[in-house]
């Protein structure tokens, strides 16, 4: 077997596309003006930002003046949640609804607000990794100022019923924010149709560079600044614009949303092949609903082995993947997402996330399918836990099938 390099961690970050890079390059060394400057060089940068803003707006069904560029998903989440909370507080509304398996940019912001007198409801998620609009409806109170629920989960890829949740929030007059960092480019999004009031997105998940993102804020909603200073972003987000990255984000989001159904069809086929083949290994399970799932996400728990060992072994074979194992995160608890869907610690430790993209090839999938069983066999062969599982549960035969 010839060794390949296979990047299967697109939920962590993506390769910058040639299209995004070539659009951005002139803004480093040629059109390097400050967009706030009056001369042509500066105005060229301003025009480029305007174009990118329209590209982002068009990609999500927003108006140009509803899009604010930020440094990425985390900043967008922080700004949206803290901003709405501050407005809510003035009206005596100090209750926020979110879910137990949000990204830490949302969870830790909510926890911060709890320390400052807010009450946060963390909706439990089902064993399939889904929440329902009914749960949201039941949790909304008189003093609820914000519902923030991710569009698609970053670890298990489950797509939430955002349109239904949006409808409930709109009826109840509660602002609805969604972290759509994983969903943009993988799910068709129209913020008006889905009744989304605020939406966070990130560049580096869709083949733009790291360090750029955007927050959509529906016209009519006003939140205070997170970052004060100059008059950039209509005075709502200070700091000289990161012009090359903003330009790249514009191109990347246009590319990512040009043919979403086509991408879904192509990538889903590869993803399903991966899932079906890896699940042939005994004592494995797919985490997250199989249908309501991002087209590129595979998340499988493999009993008897530990996630970091699995990743290091795959890396030695040229495969980049990730895990919900505690050991990869520096903390000692396994992923809060896998615990939220009810996995016991010992199973959550042995999880593997493969996130493919439209740049993934069938040959890449073949290679992963060839390598994963080899690694599982090797690690189970040396695992005292696997020995015990086999003994206690009467599992016979080899380590694999």
């Amino acid at each position: 077997m010839e060794k390949r390099f296979v990047y299967a961690d697109n939920a962590a970050t993506t390769r910058v596309s040639e299209r995004a890079l070539s659009a951005a390059l002139p803004y480093f060394t040629e059109q390097y003006g400050n967009a706030s400057s009056i001369y042509m060089l500066g105005q060229n940068a301003a025009k480029a930002i305007l174009k990118a803003r329209k590209q982002v707006a068009d990609a999500i069904g927003a108006k140009t003046n509803e899009v604010y560029f930020t440094s990425g998903g985390s900043e967008s989440d922080n700004w949206a949640i803290k901003g709405v909370a501050e407005v809510g507080e003035k009206k005596g509304k100090k209750h926020i609804i979110t879910t137990a398996f949000e990204h830490h940019a949302v969870l830790h912001t909510c926890q911060y607000l709890e320390k400052h007198g807010f009450e946060v409801t963390y909706l439990p998620v089902s064993d399939k990794g889904l929440v329902t609009a009914e749960q949201v409806r039941d949790a909304i109170r008189e003093d609820t100022c914000l519902v923030t629920i991710m569009f698609a989960n970053n670890e298990i890829g489950t797509i939430q019923p955002i349109g239904e949740i949006g409808k409930v929030c709109r009826e109840k007059g509660v602002i609805f924010h969604t972290d759509a960092v994983q969903a943009v480019g993988n799910v068709p999004i129209d913020v008006k149709e889905l009744n989304i009031d605020m939406l966070s997105l990130s560049g580096h998940k869709i083949h733009a560079p790291k360090g750029v993102g955007a927050l959509y804020i529906r016209a009519g909603i006003s939140i205070p600044n997170l970052i004060f200073g100059g008059a950039q972003e209509r005075s709502k987000r200070a700091g000289t614009e990161n012009v090359p990255s903003i330009v790249a984000l514009g191109e990347a989001i246009t590319a990512a949303t040009e043919d979403i159904p086509g991408k879904i069809e192509k990538v889903t086929k590869m993803r399903n092949r991966l899932i079906d083949e890896i699940l042939k290994i005994k004592e494995t399970r797919l985490n997250g609903d199989r249908e309501q799932r991002l087209c590129g996400n595979v998340n499988i728990s493999i009993r008897g082995i530990e996630g970091e060992s699995l990743l290091l072994s795959l890396d030695l074979m040229g495969i980049c993947a990730s895990s919900g194992s505690a050991c990869t995160s520096g903390s000692l608890d396994p992923s809060h997402v896998l615990l939220a869907i009810g996995l016991p610690h010992e199973i959550a430790h042995g999880s593997l996330r493969l996130s493919i993209s439209d740049e993934t090839t069938d040959e890449d999938i073949d290679y992963i399918i060839e390598c994963v069983p080899k690694v599982v066999d090797k690690l189970r062969a040396m695992s005292p836990l696997w020995d015990r599982i086999c003994r206690d549960e009467g599992i016979t035969g080899g380590n694999l099938y």
Binding site: E306, G307, E308, S309, C327, H345, E346, H349, M382, S383
Partner: protein, 143 residues
Amino acid sequence: MIYSEKVMDHFANPRNVGTIENADGVGEVGNAKCGDIMKMYIKVDNGTISDVKFQTFGCGAAVATSSMATELIKGKSIDEALKLTNKAVVEALDGLPPAKLHCSVLAEEAMKAAISDYYRKQGVDPEPIVGKVAGCSDCEGCH
């Protein structure tokens, strides 16, 4: 978090992996909830550890520290083996990331658990010689 080349070498090519049938001592420490279990098997001839094997469920550092610990005690007398500290294992691996130091503690404990088991099989109370083997409950890395 970056592993040294030695850690990666011992992870990719672990020494002394496996089990020993009719081992003179077997020790197991850690638990699945924490994500680390180490099991060590020793064969003892005339007070010397003539053979040692291990099985580990755990992260890269867990595998590498088990592998290194077995290398360091193989062919040594029990007295010498008992002088092996987790620090020596870490040094032999050219260091470990701080979050992974507990793995080296586990390797030392697994070795001590195996030696304790050996003494118990000989009808000797291991505690005065080996001391208390903490296993995982005292491992500060755990919950």
